[in-house]
Amino acid sequence: MKLADLIDDRPEAGIFRVSRAIFTDARVFEAEMRTIFEGGWVFLGLESQAPGPHDFFTTHAGRVPILVQRDETGALGGFVNSCPHKGARIALVRQGHARQHICPYHSWSFDSAGRNKAVKWKRAGCYSDAFLQDDQGLARLPAFGSYRGFVFGSLSANVPTLDEYLGEARKLLDLVADQSDDGLELVPGQVTFTYAANWKLQLENCSDAYHFTSAHPSYIRVLERRQQEMSADVVASVWENSDYWKEETQGIGGGSFSFENGHVLNWGVFGVTPAIPLYERAAELADRFGPAKRDWMFNMRNLTIFPNLQVAENASSQLRIIRPIAPDRTEMQTWCIAPKGESAQARRQRIRQYEDFFNPTGMATPDDTIAYENCQRGFAGKVAPWLQGYARGMTASVPGGNRFSDKIDLHPARSVLADSQLCDETLYHSYYRAWAQRMAGEFGA
């Protein structure tokens, strides 16, 4: 298998195609785990998941269980959540507080800085000098850091700095983090779901403006009914107050930005409306950051930090971690993300909008995930292996930014300005160019 069989990227010929094999092939999946999820920066969680000394949370980098914890000084550290003795996981819950972790198998213990505190019955153990001179602490992540409360780690030391990796996309994380002086928090209540399809379907769908009116007509019909009634008894949604996604809407309503290293944003104009829970701070945020940045905080924004973090601010605000399990199986960990200190009323509004739209028990997400499963079934057909879903916007994509990105001094690698029907697909190119770069060593050109 060669890279050219997987991605057909010929800008000069106006061609960008992706082979169905990248979603189904076990060798591709194995290579993705090695080079992308276990060989580079991945998102681990929010600092606020471990707020104080000795607090911790657990997650994964690819298939590797990870422990993120604060030591007694409050410094965050990232470790492989595996006892050096026999390999057992030492932290077994998603989140907690522990001065020490004691391995449940043979009672080796570790402090919150990852140092080994005791090897059970060490003196009686007749250990060799070589063993005694070895380090029995937890393995530290070779690269670890955070930006504005977003915590990242890498199982490989051979990575750019986190600032370099995130690049201009940092300014999009700022738009989330700056919504409160106190930072961000995850609303209690994590929702986990799985789907029987490849992880990259979730990667793409977040950036996919083209599917909304096709996959979600049942939800749109609910919105229309609510809009007609204007009843106080129904869950209010920001979509009802926005026209940018409607096919009859004229003019520039949004677009997309692509960044180095596979990060992308698609966005639409929502306007500063009371349908958005942040509205209570609209004036304050304009004073603090200027109206342009404030307006950007109110825009519909779907941000992907490649490969596994998505922050969707549309119907409400969602933070997602994509966790690939197998070529045809993915686990999604999802939370409602919110600015700390918002009013009780705004928080309630945010939560209600979230549940209705984002939950796998809600009225929109299941129509996406079932579509992924239908795609995965369809990918078995390799008679015509090249998928054609990467072509919209090809003649609209331009290098650099535009007047909208200029307003917040944002400098994307490429941008597209779109009316409601353009629905750019070239932003996926950024995913797959970063993907191809990372996978180049695994497959011959």
């Binding site: 986990t192 029987a196 007509p217 609910v222 939560i351 299941p366 995930t369 499963e373």
Partner: protein
């Protein structure tokens, strides 16, 4: 025993009827079981051992106040426009351990457990959901109605979708 006291038999009859209506996709009859201001709540899990407690400050899997919102869910489910809902999965609810905890004049609280088996004909996949029900029932014009239903879903890693007909 006065007629406005909730008996175990009356409670079980209502819960079984609800299960039958869901299993046979008779959703408008199902909606008729609820009071107009019903609280319909399936909390999320806060951690490994506890569910969220305050729907205004914490996330729920589903939270609605008002039957009107359940009508939206039914409309979507039966619209033919939701690819996640058509064809409708085949479901069977098994309700047991029905216990009347309190019963006063025209009102009562009930606990029960459920298992719902769901077959998705499109994917050829069977899933099973199980958990607990907490009900508040009220007597309206001679019929017991559901004023509150709390569903505690114990296996909350959701396999693609869970809708109102599989809990």
């Amino acid at each position: 025993m006065s007629a406005d006291v909730l008996t175990p038999a009356a409670a079980a009859a209502l819960l079984y009827r609800e299960a039958l209506l869901l299993d046979s996709s008779r959703f408008s009859d199902w909606l008729d079981l609820f009071t107009p201001d019903v609280e319909y709540w399936m909390p999320a899990w806060r951690d490994e051992v506890s569910t969220t407690q305050d729907p205004d400050r914490e996330l729920s899997l589903i939270y609605y106040r008002g039957r009107r919102n359940l009508e939206d869910r039914v409309m979507r489910l039966t619209s033919g426009l939701s690819i996640a809902s058509s064809p409708l999965p085949r479901v069977v609810h098994q309700i047991s351990n029905v216990v009347v905890l309190e019963s006063g004049a025209g009102a009562g609280t009930v606990n029960a457990v459920f298992v719902c088996h769901r077959f998705d004909p499109r994917m050829g996949r069977t899933d099973c959901f199980f958990g607990r029900y907490d009900y508040q029932l009220v007597l309206e014009a001679g019929d017991w109605k559901i004023a509150r239903k709390k569903i505690t879903l114990l296996n909350d890693t959701i396999p693609t979708v869970v809708d109102i007909n599989s809990i």
